[in-house]
Amino acid sequence: MGELKLMKGNEALAEAAIRAGADAYFGYPITPQSEVIEYLMAEKPWERTGMVVLQAESEVAAINMVYGAAGAGKRVMTSSSSPGVSLKQEGLSYIAGSELPCVYANVVRGGPGLGTIQPSQADYFQSTKGGGHGDYRQIVLAPASVQEMSDFVKLGFELAFKYRIAVLILSDGVIGQMMEKVELFDPIPRMTDDEIVEKYPWATTGKKKGTARRIITSLDLDSHKMEEHNHHLQAKYKTISENEVRYELFDCDDAEYIFVAYGSSARIAQKSVQLARAKGIKAGLFRLISLYPFPGKEMAALCKKGVKGWLAVEMSAGQMVEDVMLSVKGCAKVAHYGRYGGIVHSPEEVLHAMEEKIIGE
């Protein structure tokens, strides 16, 4: 068993970065995720593992530091919260175009604009539908516990390097700020410079005489080549969508009414399932772990087993619900419920919404 600790979600994320063998973290403070860089600066990982930590002048600079270091083959990470993540979108689009591996976290707060510092899940569209310019995708993992804030950093780096893609840990102010017991995974040693040079021949690590130079770029002025590059990217996303779907089911075997949720809303909806069962309603929970790729096929298959209705529970005005509708395609009723703008719904409110919008209809 790994080391047990009582930690905040943001601290678990930071500790996991050190343990995952990250080479660098570049970040900029923003509530509610400033504990990430505070923890790292206090922990001095440069003494523990040689990991670099730098407070950048902006979120824009931080993601571009990630771009540079990732292009040079290193394991790099950043994190921010909604307004800061909006600033990173340019860099993320370049990272997608140049096919660079990195992990970043968004500890989501209410918006739009400067919004509020309270929890929200209103960045679903930005996270799963592109965010920056151009046709691209990124893997999105949604932790529902402090444990997963830690575990998904390790998983995130594995996936990032497997596919040369950005992996987003889409958290929220609840998961980032709350304290829970976490079992920390055993530290993975950082790769040596020689290992990086050998393992990542695409990385800009200095061109050996007589060998071809490496270029990290997202530019090609020849549109035909750019179309080919886009085909390549789409093929990669297809592979990811076939192999990296992650979700979890609670009480779905005989369920007629299913809550669909991720992150802190999934924790709340799990309680709503218990309340529903106590009232004799056959309810279940479909918890999304990967938001991209979206477990649409699995949802459709489950729907055919006699599900009468789905309630998408998210702290937004209704974003994920669109993907649920696309997935079940009229097989059963679909509705949305969620408080938003920084307000967290209660399990009772969620159950009431199921009764009113789905069962009562």
Binding site: N64, T205, K207, R213
Partner: protein
């Protein structure tokens, strides 16, 4: 006297000059008479002469020199507009023993990338910045730059830069020289053989500083013409540059070994 054939002349012992191997054979995308080609060449010659080929990572900007990676025969990363100093910071921090440099134009470095430039300089990142200032946005067709001179015409200041409305040109090089993080700051040109020799000397000094792990960033501005953007012939553009750009952007070393020169 026997006739000497061309084949007899082309042999290693007669070689007096050759293009550095660190420039590719790809035809430059720059307009004839533009300073970028010379600035590229002397930068690559310095890297070759200092034996840095295998240890260097360059960062290309957005602007006319966006395709610098097509011409510089080393490992290169192409950065988003203005972000090159942040990208270079990321690389240098995780590969502290590598030589890292950015090559940027005036729009990239002194407008959209002002924050990244100032902060990389102020943190004293141990990188080299080569800043080509031609007072105009060449790539997009001759719009006003942060360094466009008062009264100077461009496609977005067609009647001349009116300072009251459009603001003053920014002397970025003097500005970064004031920051404690810069170790060496110099302004040069590449329009005459003398100027090229001086510019190359400054670029060599900048890379030597990084090689020797000197405390701070080395920054070399090259004032260049943009004859097509300025709508002049290359020779007229060089003359105009001497008469108008150099008085506003005087050439010479500004900071040496961390000390501002009087």
């Amino acid at each position: 006297m026997a006739t000497v054939t061309l084949q007899e002349i082309i042999k290693p012992e007669n070689l007096v000059y050759k293009k550095t191997d660190l420039m590719t054979d790809k035809a430059l995308s720059y307009c004839p008479g533009c300073g970028h080609g010379t600035a590229h060449r002397i930068t690559m010659e310095v890297l070759e002469e200092l034996g840095m080929e295998e240890n260097t990572i360059g960062v290309a900007p957005v602007g006319c020199s966006v395709l610098a990676y097509e011409f510089m025969n080393i490992d290169m990363t192409q950065a988003a507009h203005g972000r090159a100093p942040a990208v270079a910071t990321g690389i240098k921090r995780v590969w502290p023993n590598k030589i890292v440099f950015t090559y940027q134009g005036d729009g990239d470095l002194a407008a959209i990338g002002t924050a990244e430039t100032i902060h990389a300089c102020n943190r004293g990142e141990k990188i080299v910045i080569i800043f080509v200032n031609n007072g105009i946005y060449g790539m997009t067709g001759g719009q006003m730059a942060p360094t466009t001179l008062p009264g100077m015409k461009s496609s977005t200041s067609p009647y001349g830069r009116e300072v009251e409305m459009m603001g003053n040109p920014l002397k970025m090089t003097e500005l970064v020289a004031q920051l404690p993080g810069t170790y060496f700051v110099s302004r040069q040109a590449v329009h005459t053989p003398t100027a090229v020799r001086r510019a190359k000397k400054a670029i060599r000094k900048a890379f030597e500083n990084q090689r020797d792990n000197k405390p701070g960033l080395s920054f070399v501005e090259i004032v260049s013409n943009c004859n097509s953007g300025w709508k002049m012939t290359p020779t007229d553009a060089n003359k105009w540059m001497e008469d108008n750009m150099f008085p506003f952007y005087p050439l010479g070393d500004i900071k040496m070994d961390g000390q501002l020169l009087k």
